[in-house]
């Protein structure tokens, strides 16, 4: 038997040492965390002191007994419904904004990776044309989600007046930015091999997207969107503080009148609603998985 010639071509065996990037990153992360501890004036002794405990207890105790009179409970039906409406419509608007922008912001669909290796080779202008909508949509998504929904709400309250509508718009825009980014990440994470196979049949990028990407990403898309809906219920409560309707507006009014019993009832209602959406989305998720 002659000695081994060249071994078969193969990817080199991966080393067990973390890469330089991982080590530098870990170091920076540790330093940043330490600096933040100091900068945020984390003060554990005060937090766990008896005095802090007593003050917090007094604040919470003010809310007991919660307001449970039938008139008040009956009165709550409208704002509760309003909150659900704001969150549902807001998530719908976010979907309409986030889905198309998320498609544009998916690098593996726009310009990068094996789907474009041959098509874009030696064509810098074409590559740039493909990159532009990608970069633009990423910038737009980033703008939408880096401005907090509370600020969006203030803007839209100015524009359209008090009420649920500015709340819908605020959630729609802010969550559209979040959904778009997460959608693009979900699309990029799908198994690329079926995509390559679809492209090899001569399919267009849309064909590859609808037949290869969407079916693979679908459960994750549904799951994350439902989670965002749950977040929207909570957010719409906060938005009420700036006059965007719903339960939040009631919390703000009751707080201003130092009626903490009502505040506790309202927060309890909010907890129930979030738990309700959670239960509902769990059922939906089971169906699509």
């Amino acid at each position: 038997m002659p000695p081994l010639t060249r071994p078969p071509v193969a990817v080199p065996f991966p080393g067990s040492r973390p890469s330089r990037f991982a080590r530098v990153f870990a170091l920076l992360f540790g330093l940043t965390a330490a600096a933040s501890w100091w900068a945020a004036r984390v003060d554990l002794p005060t937090l766990f002191s008896r005095e802090a405990f007593r003050n917090a207890l007094v604040f919470v105790a003010d809310g007991f007994p919660p307001a449970l009179s039938p008139t008040f409970l009956f009165f709550l039906i409208r704002p509760a419904l309003e909150t659900v409406q704001i969150s549902l419509l807001g998530t719908a608007v976010a979907l309409v904004i986030g889905f198309p922008l998320g498609i544009l912001a998916t690098a593996s669909l726009a310009h990068a990776g094996p789907l474009h290796e041959l098509d874009l080779s030696g064509r810098p202008v074409r590559r740039l044309l493909r990159f532009m909508p990608y970069g633009l949509s990423r910038a737009l998504l980033s703008l939408f989600r880096s401005v907090p929904e509370l600020v969006w709400a203030l803007v839209f309250v100015r524009a359209t007046g008090l009420g649920p509508f500015p709340g819908v718009l605020a959630i729609g825009v802010a969550y559209g930015g979040i959904l778009g980014k997460v959608y693009s990440e979900i699309f990029e994470a799908v198994d690329p091999r079926p995509l390559e196979a679809l492209q090899a049949t001569g399919a267009s990028r849309w064909g590859v997207f609808w037949y290869g990407m969407v079916p693979q990403a679908f459960p994750h898309l549904v799951s994350y969107t439902l989670y965002r809906w749950e977040c929207a219920i909570r957010a719409s409560a906060i938005l009420g503080f700036v006059g965007a309707g719903g339960i939040g507006q009631q919390i703000e009014i009751s707080m201003r009148m130092f009626n903490f019993g009502e505040v506790v009832t309202l927060i309890g209602l909010l907890v129930l609603m979030v738990a309700g959406t959670d239960a509902l989305s769990l059922r939906l998720r089971r169906r699509v998985l």
Binding site: L4, Q199, W210
Partner: protein, 271 residues
């Protein structure tokens, strides 16, 4: 149909998967590539089906140089090449029918493709293709519920629906049992013979390749080691091809003088 001159593909990390390969395959030819794992067969196929860009060298498909194909012309070229992948590369969550109909995506408009997802069109054709590969009853099954061998046959049905001029089959029978493997390879060669389609396959099963294909190309380290008619392939030729290959590969089967069809068709380890 194919012409390659000094075709080379280097992956990041200086991995030379295909290394200065010269090749000519005529229209309607039936060619089998054999060689040890890591010989560059799969990379060569990804070059041949216009997915990868060669690092160096030139490649022509149907008289047109691949490096000059872009956009619509590239899609048209791809449409004429049907690839059956080793790992099937089907979309797992889609029903079988859509994976089969995906073979039509090169000819369909986006609207038609989308409409078909809602309500499948050309069901007859998809059913016939599945009949040819022997699993017509799986038309509406979810693809990830099928066994490996059944999925491989779905991938072949997709290529049948695409109706290309060239069929590239990368280990088309790696996850089916030997009897079925022979059946599928014969199906492909019959189609090639009847329609004049060019057929290029990678086969782990050396005896199946020798028994079925008029032209055998031995690939090793990304280069052509031999290019012979099956009658001219000797045991020494095969020994040189598989020398030093891992014992778990097909090498031992190839080295044992009388080839046993039952053992030479071993399924590949899952990656």
């Amino acid at each position: 149909m194919y012409q390659a001159e000094g075709l080379t593909k280097v992956f990041p990390g200086e991995i030379r998967a295909v290394d200065g390969l010269d090749l000519k395959i005529g229209a309607g030819e039936r060619v089998a590539f054999i060689g040890p794992s890591g010989a560059g067969k799969t990379t060569l196929f990804r070059l041949l089906n216009c997915t990868l860009k060669p690092t160096a060298g030139r490649l022509w498909v149907g008289g047109r140089e691949v490096a000059h194909l872009h956009g619509a012309a590239l899609r048209a070229a791809r449409r004429r090449i049907g690839t059956i992948y080793q790992q099937h590369n089907l979309v797992p969550r889609l029903p079988v029918i859509h994976n089969v109909l995906a073979g039509r995506l090169g000819t369909w408009s986006t609207t038609r493709a989308l409409l078909s997802l809602a309500r499948p069109v050309e069901v007859e054709e998809a059913h016939r293709a599945l009949q040819q590969v022997g699993i017509p009853e799986k038309l509406y099954a979810r693809t990830d519920e099928l066994s490996g061998g059944q999925q491989q046959r779905v991938a072949i049905a997709r290529a049948l629906l695409q109706d290309p001029d060239i069929i590239l089959a990368d280990e088309p029978v790696s996850s089916v049992d030997p009897t079925l493997a022979a059946g599928i390879v014969h199906l492909l060669t019959d189609i090639s013979r009847a329609t004049g389609k060019t057929l290029v396959v990678n086969l782990h099963s050396v005896d199946l390749a020798l028994a079925t294909f008029p032209r055998i190309i031995g690939l090793r380290d990304g280069r052509v080691l031999f290019d012979l008619a099956p009658a001219a392939v000797r045991d020494e030729t095969l020994a040189a091809l598989y020398r030093g290959a891992p014992a778990t590969g097909p090498a031992e089967g190839a080295l044992d003088a009388p080839l046993d069809p039952a053992t030479s068709c071993r399924p590949l380890p899952r990656v």
